[in-house]
Amino acid sequence: MTPQLLVNGLVAGTTIGLGAIGLSLTYSILRFANFTQGDLIAWGAYLTLTVASAIAGLLAGLAPATPLAPFSFGWTLPVALLAGMALTVLLALALDAVLFARLRARGADAIILVMAGFGASMALRAGLEFIYTSAPAYFTHELQIARPLGLGMRATPDQLLVLGLTAVLVLALHLLVTRTATGRAMRAVSENPALAAVYGLDVARVVRVTWIIGAGLACVAGVMSGLLVQIRPTMGFDLLLPLFAATILGGIGSIPGAMVGGLVIGLSEALAVQLLGAEWRAAAAFVVLVAVLILRPSGLFGRGA
């Protein structure tokens, strides 16, 4: 076991954690396990890549997208990320309007919503393969050299950026939920939507805010994962089990919990890869998920089973 395991696990855990926050929020407010969260991550990455490519194509020769030292990407990627987040949010809102909102209006059981989400997930994934093919894509082809951090650990500037950006996003989201009127409304709807309506809260608006936050973070997670590894139509599907494991480990509805859960899952996967081999990576999340369900079903930051 080497200290590098820590860096590898934390970096992998950031993607899982950001995706898990969205999953946790939709679970606590809409009360169903949203299987499309992984595919929103993949769509976010592809939409951002499309916008980045379009910007680069339009401005070819005018403003060369040379890498912003010390990172591996040019200025087009941050701009494209904002557009990609907006497009991913629109996709999520459309999905809700076309599918989930109609089922909720009919009083559908949670299992119906879960199955509908599962079907939508497959459709979204097939759509990506149809449009972009199953060949992997990349935000950058620049090579980065990992720099020493001390204690035998090394990380690339992109990896450090991902860790820093994740910390900022999680802190901002935590403050939003705990210190603002929007956050109070989200917590109120999460506890009792009928009472929230009696209080005068527009529950439909809170649901929209939840999709916006979840989809926005999914896009960031997809871009981070694509930046550090690659983009594939199945990248979201591959993340589903770790996302659910992180959400349940952290405690459903807890933003810090989802992030901590993601980091623990990331570290567990890195540990499994180092000790047992890469083929055991997915098993790590499954083992953690089963252990949590047996030992502490409410999760680390949950409010009781």
Binding site: A188, N192, L195, V198, Y199, L201
Partner: protein, 239 residues
């Protein structure tokens, strides 16, 4: 001026088996109305339907003359209708102050902080520890917080479902003292209450609901000690 009007009001959970049937009722501004009746008469369903929490199948609801029959619960709150459910009437995972702050969202931004402070001043038990989670409050304190929340947005009509349910006699007295102060402030009160004696002592007028229909409508004082009330509670219909 009529604060709340129901016309041929039919509501429930199954259109083929309505629980509230053809209720017509006018509640003048400032009146305290109590709805009495045996268990299963449809009292709670009636007021929950008025508050937008149970489907209305036919008829109409008017709030100060304005048709609000199809308005969702949050729109009714914004239109001036306050509702305090019997149970689960506060957000237990939010603090006392946060519960009040959510209700204050209905007010202009400049008035919110002062109104929260005014409600805390009206209920000293709540003011003693405003940052405590509502889930840590006793049953009586929760009812007070629920009433404070409903009052905070300055409703024209306040509907309460069994405000004394599950409370000790001392707490019941406290809750009814609070309701008396609210009524003296000119708010129209509609009250469903099993504690008939306390309800009639507070109310100006009482209606009795039997099997989802209005069976009796009289000044509250007339019903105190009236043997008709006992008959109605046993399920007999008024002539």
């Amino acid at each position: 001026m009529t604060a709340l009007t129901l016309r041929d009001f039919v509501a429930g959970y199954d259109p083929d088996l309505p629980i509230v049937k053809d209720v017509t009722l006018d509640v003048p501004e400032g009146q305290v109305l109590t709805i009495l009746g045996p268990n299963g008469a449809g009292k709670s369903t009636l007021i929950r339907a008025v508050a937008g929490m149970v489907p209305i199948f036919s008829g109409e609801v008017r709030l100060s003359g304005r048709d609000v029959t199809r308005a969702p619960a949050h729109a009714l709150a914004r239109a001036g209708l306050g509702f305090v459910p019997q149970t689960e009437n506060v957000f237990t995972r939010l603090s006392i102050r946060e519960n009040l702050q959510i209700a204050a969202e209905l007010l202009p931004r400049s008035a919110r902080a002062a109104r929260v402070a005014a409600m805390l001043a009206m209920f000293p038990d709540l003011a003693a520890r405003p940052e405590a989670l509502a889930g840590s409050l006793s049953g009586g304190q929760r009812q007070m917080l629920a009433a404070a929340r409903a009052l905070l947005s300055e409703p024209r009509v306040l509907i309460l479902d069994e405000p004394s349910a599950g409370l000790s006699p001392k707490l019941v007295a406290q809750v009814f003292d609070s309701l008396r102060r609210i009524a003296q402030g000119g708010v129209t009160l509609v009250l469903v209450e099993q504690n008939v004696r306390a309800a009639l002592a507070l109310a100006d007028r009482a209606v009795v609901l039997v099997d989802g229909r209005l069976a009796h409508d009289a000044p509250a004082a007339e019903l105190v000690g009236n043997p008709l009330l006992g008959q109605l509670f046993l399920g007999a219909r008024a002539a």
